[in-house]
Symmetry: C2
């Protein structure tokens, strides 16, 4: 994450997608570079977006019986080593505290890269009998992974996320929980973020370190690459055995628990940017946008100024009273055109323009962010402003989803040959029969830089020939280059 100065002009997505992304994050004031390599400052506009994501998810977690708690960030180094696959996965990425209060520590402490181990230690103390199960806890916190190549939101040393950690009496309950949370993420992505996602199972090579099964939702970005947007892990009895999480069952027998974990991070903000954004900047789905509507008064004379601002204030009050997140941009010394660009960069879904003639006609102009120019403009009556704005916001929300889905469909090819696969992953997703062999997967990765994103839950049925080796294959996989 080399620190970039803000450029005068946003490059087009076509021209330089990576640089378009960096510039957009800075110019929309979502985030900024921090003085420590690879860390980020999430600025108020970006953090408010995250707060809205948090609320939309937290509501769903609570509705499915989960409660929040907080676990320490400092974990004894030895904990990470207790689950053999877990340590192999995370050891290279650890940040280590060796000094506290001026003295060398006896045992170094790591900053949590994820909390399965410290959760395992606590659950082992808390669980005695089947009556104590299930435990359904979620944490909203920050974690640290020492990444080498970083990018704002997408991969940072410290990031923000939620991590759910549950313990169950039976394998079936844990399997159900793993899938339930995948459904929660899918529902959130589709209905709040307007992002179509493919829920599926990860291949063995892409599984979480220490999981029996990992599921994810995968989304297509505006450049055709994939972004893993959330994951849900069935941890089997791996952590229960490593940390001795056991319970007495109804027959008085001591049993190991079955555990799960699942998470969604500030990475998701990167997905929102890259799925919906355009060459003018950010485009936010109304349900998550910090500001849903901005009102810009248009005037030349002082008399017009008073007239339009007075009318705009009334519109703002009506919208705010209806629970719409709205701001009146009455800044002096900047032109309406400057304000239009400013709010377009920040992705506010709907602009309300009010000029002197509009005031006279008790009318306003609505301008949709998702349809720049004349095409996205329509008049609305001031007397029915709440209804018009609410309906337009709902239309924008749906239209963003439809557009993203159409884009993904256009850029997804069901491929019958290895050559077709190689060509498909240049611009989007390949859907291919795969025999399940890790060698075939490795060859694809090496030769095309594309990876098995997931084996979609939704399969066509039947069988085919593996796109690499030609042997029989029972499942199709989504194969793509990924962030």
């Amino acid at each position: 994450m080399a620190e970039k100065p803000i450029e005068r002009k946003l490059p087009s997505r076509q021209e330089d997608f990576a640089e378009w992304y960096n510039q957009l994050v800075l110019r929309a004031e979502l985030a900024d570079y921090a003085p420590v390599r690879g860390c980020m400052i999430v600025r108020p506009y970006g953090w408010t977006l995250w707060e809205n994501i948090q609320q939309a998810l937290d509501r769903r977690f609570k509705a499915t019986g989960h409660v929040n708690a907080a676990f320490p960030m400092l974990i004894p180094r030895s904990f990470i080593e207790k689950e053999s696959k877990h340590v192999a996965g995370f050891a290279p990425e650890l940040a280590v505290v060796t000094v506290g209060g001026g003295e060398e520590l006896e045992e170094p402490l790591v900053l949590r890269p994820t909390s399965e181990t410290i959760i395992g230690h606590a659950y082992a103390r808390w669980v005695q009998s089947y009556r104590d199960l299930p435990i359904l806890i979620n944490l909203w916190n920050n974690v640290v992974r020492w990444e080498l190549r970083t990018k704002l939101f997408l991969r940072t040393l410290e990031f923000y996320w939620q991590e759910g950690h549950t313990a169950h009496a039976t394998a079936q309950e844990a399997a159900e929980e793993t899938r339930r949370m995948l459904d929660v993420y899918t529902d959130f992505a589709v209905n709040e973020a307007a992002i179509p996602v493919i829920p599926g199972r990860k291949s063995d090579s892409e599984r979480f370190a220490g999981a029996d099964q990992t599921f994810s939702i995968e989304a297509m970005m505006g450049d055709g690459k994939a972004l893993q947007s959330a994951t849900s892990h069935n941890l089997g009895q791996n952590f229960a055995r490593a940390f001795e999480i056991r319970y007495l069952d109804r027959q008085g027998q001591l049993q190991y628990c079955w555990t799960t974990s699942w998470g969604l991070s500030t990475r998701f903000i990167g997905a929102i940017i890259m799925v919906h954004g355009d060459d003018q900047g950010l485009v936010l789905p109304p349900r998550l946008a910090p500001l849903q509507t901005v009102i810009v008064p248009i005037f030349k004379t002082e008399a017009e100024r008073e007239l339009t601002i007075e009318a705009a204030a009334k519109v703002r009050d009506a919208l705010a009273a209806a629970g719409i997140r709205v701001r009146l941009d009455d800044r002096d010394g900047v032109s309406p055109g400057f304000k239009f660009n400013d709010w377009e960069m920040r992705g506010v879904p709907l602009r309300v323009e009010i000029g002197p003639r509009d005031v006279a006609a008790r009318s306003v102009v609505l301008a949709r962010r998702d349809r720049p120019g004349r095409e996205g403009k329509s008049p609305a009556s001031m007397d029915a402003i709440v209804e018009s704005v609410s309906q337009t916001l709902a239309t924008i929300q749906q239209s963003l989803y439809d557009r993203a889905l159409a884009f993904r469909r256009q850029n997804t090819r069901e491929v019958g040959s290895y050559d077709e696969l190689k060509s498909a992953v240049e611009t989007g997703f390949a859907l291919a029969w795969w025999c399940g062999d890790a060698e075939c997967e490795a060859r694809i990765k090496e030769e095309t830089r594309a990876t098995t994103r997931c084996i979609p839950l939704d399969q066509p049925g039947g069988s085919g020939s593996c796109v690499v080796c030609g042997r029989p294959a029972k499942e199709q996989a989504v194969i793509a280059r990924a962030y």
Copy 2:
């Protein structure tokens, strides 16, 4: 913080206040010890209480124009050294990351003990002209201070808090902000937590490291000791000079900004416990309680069980629909008496009891947590249950405040002599004329272990003789032993 096992019986507050506190925190499942010395796990019941505190404060922060953001936890060691008093105050308490991704770091990183320095670095970049001011940002996060003697919630290595950081164009605006946030904390403590507090100015020796002035709210705990419950600092131009936070004023002159910071932490949960708790356990103010009402059905036969649970479920639904945080305790295999004790330990403000005769009479019994035994019980009609419960919760909220205020008044003495001071601080607060000299303050601390908690904003006027040296004094100070 020596780890204590849970005892069978809660000691009385009279007998052993410190151990009463520890046992209560564990038994009410507010928090648990973590595997790393001095760290804590905040369990779901404790974290939900913190979430309610967060919401009550966040509402007030947003109503006064503040927005939330997130700053990195990792800070270059050199940053802490830029403000000379700041480094003197925090250097002994730092936790230091020296290894990342398997390699020794070139510059060690500290885990933030507070964020003034990294905020200063960012604000210096963000502020150009007077148009960029004020900046009114708040952070909800975790910080680390390497404390030697720790106690759950009151003093832990890692704790949770909010820290506000603002930058202003003038000294007056910064002074106003500092006082405004002190008022916000006072309003929150009084009206949400039912805790009477004394807002005041800290003496020079008790000031925040790097501040020109520190204000605090001080509360009296159930053992007569003081707890600093929130602070608000006027940082003057100290951090602006250390980090070069400058702006061009309207005349085109480069000026240093004036900054403030203010915070309230999970320590406040300790205050709630120690102000309201009794020998049966926790007592929570209704406005912050995770559960405001618990319903306990009382039955012997299976027929009675069905009858009472059906009625209880209707009461629960009515209360929940009215926005009251309610739970029906329909657990099998535990007696009503066990349930009563259980919820009393957890401090649920109001219990609703429903037996078969109550069902027949379309009535329930309300039992107030703040008045144990018969005195706190009263009948209520099922048909007006929402009104009765709402009113009783409001009565409890007020009554907790009144009781805490009466207790503080009883245990506060205006002292005229040093001997009176010594006696007063044995059991509570002393209110004493003080000349302002640090030597007098130091003598009190050395000889009585009591410290100057604050110089209350509300002064009697006039003047007196310093309680230590007898010289003229213009102000009274609150002097007490403190957590």
